[in-house]
Amino acid sequence: MSELSHGLLLLDQGRLEEAEACFVGVLMRDPDNDFVHSRLALCRMQQPGRKNDALESVETAIRLDPEDDYYFGLKSLILSSLHRHREALEAADSAIAMNPEVSFNFSVKASALCDLHRWTEAEENCRIALSIDPDDSMASHMLTNVLRLQGRVEENQAAVDIQLSKNPENAYAHANAGWARLHQGNQVKAEEHFKEALRLDASMDSARSGLLESFKARSWYYRMYLAYCFFMQRFTGRGQWAIILGAYVAYQVLRVPLRQIGAWAELTLIALWITLVLWIWLSPGIGNFLIYLDRTARLALHKSEVYHGLWIGLSLLIGIPLIICGVLMKVPALTPLGAMLIASTVPATMTFTNDSRKGTIVFGSVLALVLVMGVMCATLRFLSGGTSEFAETLFVGLIIVTALSTWLGNVPALRRDDSG
């Protein structure tokens, strides 16, 4: 076993930094080895913040051997991870044009199409890949996901069953089975599969997050939330925006006739709308909070998820009684404090568990602003005995900032991983 094969073993084991050191060592002696550059790219692609380095490495490999279709396929995967989906698709097409006999190239194209939420075409490419090589695990795993994301539950289950029967000791097969069961609303079976996936590969993050989702799905409201998420996943980004805007327009249109029926009817609709928005926003945080209360399940949470859960849970638990006390006991300072805590849950959701650094900064700033406005408002109300006009302006401002942040949360650039 040479240094290169040791590096390849480490890469297979997911020990990326050690593998990288081996590949760099080989390249010091043989700098024009395109194969090693490609493996270095593969290694860097999987490390946070190293995707641009990975792109550079694969481009070096391509420069050294522009005839190798595998390098174009790899480049497509790296571009996908950098959210450059159109270029990823082009690179995948180049790979296919160079060698249409290799299943990997079609799998890569399917992956790029998945990122663009073009499920039908992605499915088509997965099937081509599997017709070339029925054992192509990448295509097989992607096909089960594509079927699930299209809501084709039975076909998805059938594909998962085939995967499991072929390789019952495969962590990916169990993770796919877990997601399939979760989609079907069977969180107990899902939990079993995710645990098995983690037993086989404890470092598998999709299985860990699946396990968390299945823990959260023990409550009925979270199962509804998951159903909503799975429904929305079927659509492209534009489709999702159309649904959100459509719902908002419908809400505004409905308000007019309801207003004529009576103020209570309009207020009920507003309350329902706000509940719906908060339900969508706060469900993951409430789920994390409930998991935190379970001594065993909490071990699966990352630190950021713990902070997220605690912020949402405690803000709601303290904020709601504060508002009730403020109204009933007529203490003017309590209501804005309670409102501030509840409002803070919206930007907090996008602060603690956001993959986007930009997004974390933006929502972190919004969170700070909400807290400052809330504290100022409560102080002014306390000092003026509830007569300060500026305090009222601040209160309205706090509500507006929170409402705006719910719209801001739909901007993809503020949610996706931008570590590069």
């Binding site: 076993m1 073993l9 084991q13 983690l198 086989l200």
Partner: protein
């Protein structure tokens, strides 16, 4: 060029600074600025007339300038004046080879490697051999009392070199760098009391009560796996273990086994086990054992599978008894080991080596500070601030603080001591490298701990299911 400029700036402040002059001279040489390099080294010799490195560099410059005869004379003189300076012998070997004197070149080469094995230049050796350089004998470096250390020359054809271990001539190509009864023991390793106690219970007492074990039908030896974050003293504690039981200690690195040719690695592994059996009681220590004992699922169709099978077979002692051979393995990634290695009779005892505790950190700090201009050192205070730090992290702290002082020293031309405050500042800049390891280990301890292998990790992290 930027390096040369900054060195010149530093020298403007401190024109007679020997280390700086050496750096500048070497920088000029690296940039092929022969005349500038010569001037720098000549000036250096005025400041420090006995500097062997400068003299060797001047000889090399003469050779580069085509004055090879003069270079040979100069280097002969350096070798006479400072016979323990290995790079001079290497240059002398190179010059001799260039003159067609391969046998002489080999002699000089062997001398250099004898003085400092790190100077061994495989390319040069190859050229010497191609030129007909006779293979020189391997040389015993030291042999006194119960301590034996040998440099095993891979090309040696002299049986005498292996006498200490009763090794066949064929075994000489094992390239074992180190095989000795180590002079370290638990008393010389600061802190790590829980690990030591674990080792006493799992290794030392069984070996000390061999007869008692035999009465119960148990054999002494077997395998123990040390695992934990990198840079936390697994190798050190292994050596100390060997020192405690007064056994021959054979440390085997990955590069000594792995061979690019199919079948060679398996042969080397067998030879190492044979060597250990012949010299029992022996502690056979495998560093980075996860590469030799990797999960066969990860190896798929690769040739590494046969190496794993060979390792299993050697540990089982299928061909020969392993009585008195204790196999110690160290790894950062025990979860990548083939599960077959964790069965009874193989690595059936696991010892978790956590990051150093405070007394161990203080010991490391003491060692790091030795021979360096460090003032007002508060070892206890520093150790307290180094939560989750590995030995390697502590070294990084010292490196940072020393670099800062060195920068100031280069400007002032005087020794600027490293202060406790600088070390404390450096602690803030160094992130403990063990955290990443624990992130991975936590997942395995939580989800892949059906046999309870990682219970110690859970306990260390304060996690209970």
């Amino acid at each position: 060029m930027a390096e040369i400029d900054s060195l010149k700036q530093a020298l403007a402040v401190s024109p007679d600074n020997v280390p700086l002059l050496l750096m500048l001279g070497n920088a000029h040489m690296a940039s092929f600025q022969i005349e500038e390099a010569r001037q720098v080294f000549t000036h250096l010799l005025k400041v420090d007339p006995s500097n062997a490195e400068a003299k060797t560099c001047l000889a090399r410059l003469l050779d580069v300038s085509g004055k090879s005869s003069e270079a040979i004379l100069r280097i002969e003189q350096v070798c006479q004046e400072t016979p323990n300076y290995a790079p001079a012998w290497i240059l002398r070997a190179t010059l001799a080879l260039n003159e067609g004197e391969a046998t002489l070149a080999r002699e000089y080469f062997d001398k250099a490697v004898l003085i400092d094995p790190k100077t061994k230049d495989k390319e040069l050796l190859k050229r010497i051999e191609q030129g007909g350089g006779r293979k020189g004998p391997g040389t015993r470096i030291q042999s006194s009392g119960d301590q034996v250390g040998v440099y095993l020359d891979p090309d040696s054809d002299d049986d005498d070199i292996f006498e200490a271990f009763d090794v066949d001539d064929d075994d000489s190509d094992l390239e074992l760098e180190f095989a000795s009864r180590p002079d370290t023991n638990f008393a010389k390793v600061g802190g790590m009391e829980s690990v030591k106690e674990d080792i006493r219970m799992k290794i030392l007492y069984p070996m000390q009560n061999e007869e008692l074990f035999k009465a119960y039908g148990k054999t002494v030896g077997g395998g123990v796996l040390l695992y934990g974050p990198p840079g936390c003293g697994k190798t050190l504690i292994s050596r100390a273990t060997a020192g405690e039981i007064d056994a021959t200690f054979i440390s085997v690195g990955l590069h000594q086994i792995l061979d690019m040719y199919i079948g060679q690695s398996e042969g080397k592994l067998h030879d190492i086990f044979e060597l250990a059996r012949r010299n029992a009681p022996t502690v056979l220590f495998f560093d980075e054992v996860d590469a030799l004992a990797a999960d066969r699922k990860d190896l798929r169709g690769s040739a590494g599978r046969t190496l794993v099978n060979q390792f299993l077979s050697e540990m089982d002692g299928t061909e020969a008894h392993n009585e008195g051979v204790l196999v110690l393995g160290a790894t950062n990634a025990p979860w990548h080991l083939d599960s077959a290695f964790l069965r009874p009779g193989r690595f059936d005892r696991l010892i978790f080596v956590p990051p150093p505790d405070e007394p161990a950190k203080e010991e490391i700090i003491k060692i790091m500070a030795q021979g360096k201009p460090v003032t007002d050192l508060d070892m206890g205070g520093l150790a307290k601030k180094m939560k989750d730090f590995s030995g390697a992290d502590i070294k990084a702290v010292f490196d940072q603080a020393i670099e800062e002082s060195l920068g100031q020293a280069m400007k002032s031309g005087k020794i600027v001591p490293v202060t406790n405050k600088q070390l404390l500042n450096a602690v803030k800049n160094v992130k403990p490298s063990t955290k990443k390891w624990f992130d991975s280990a936590k997942n395995y301890a939580l989800y892949a701990n059906q046999s309870g292998f990682y219970d110690d990790v859970l306990t260390y992290l304060g996690l209970t299911k």
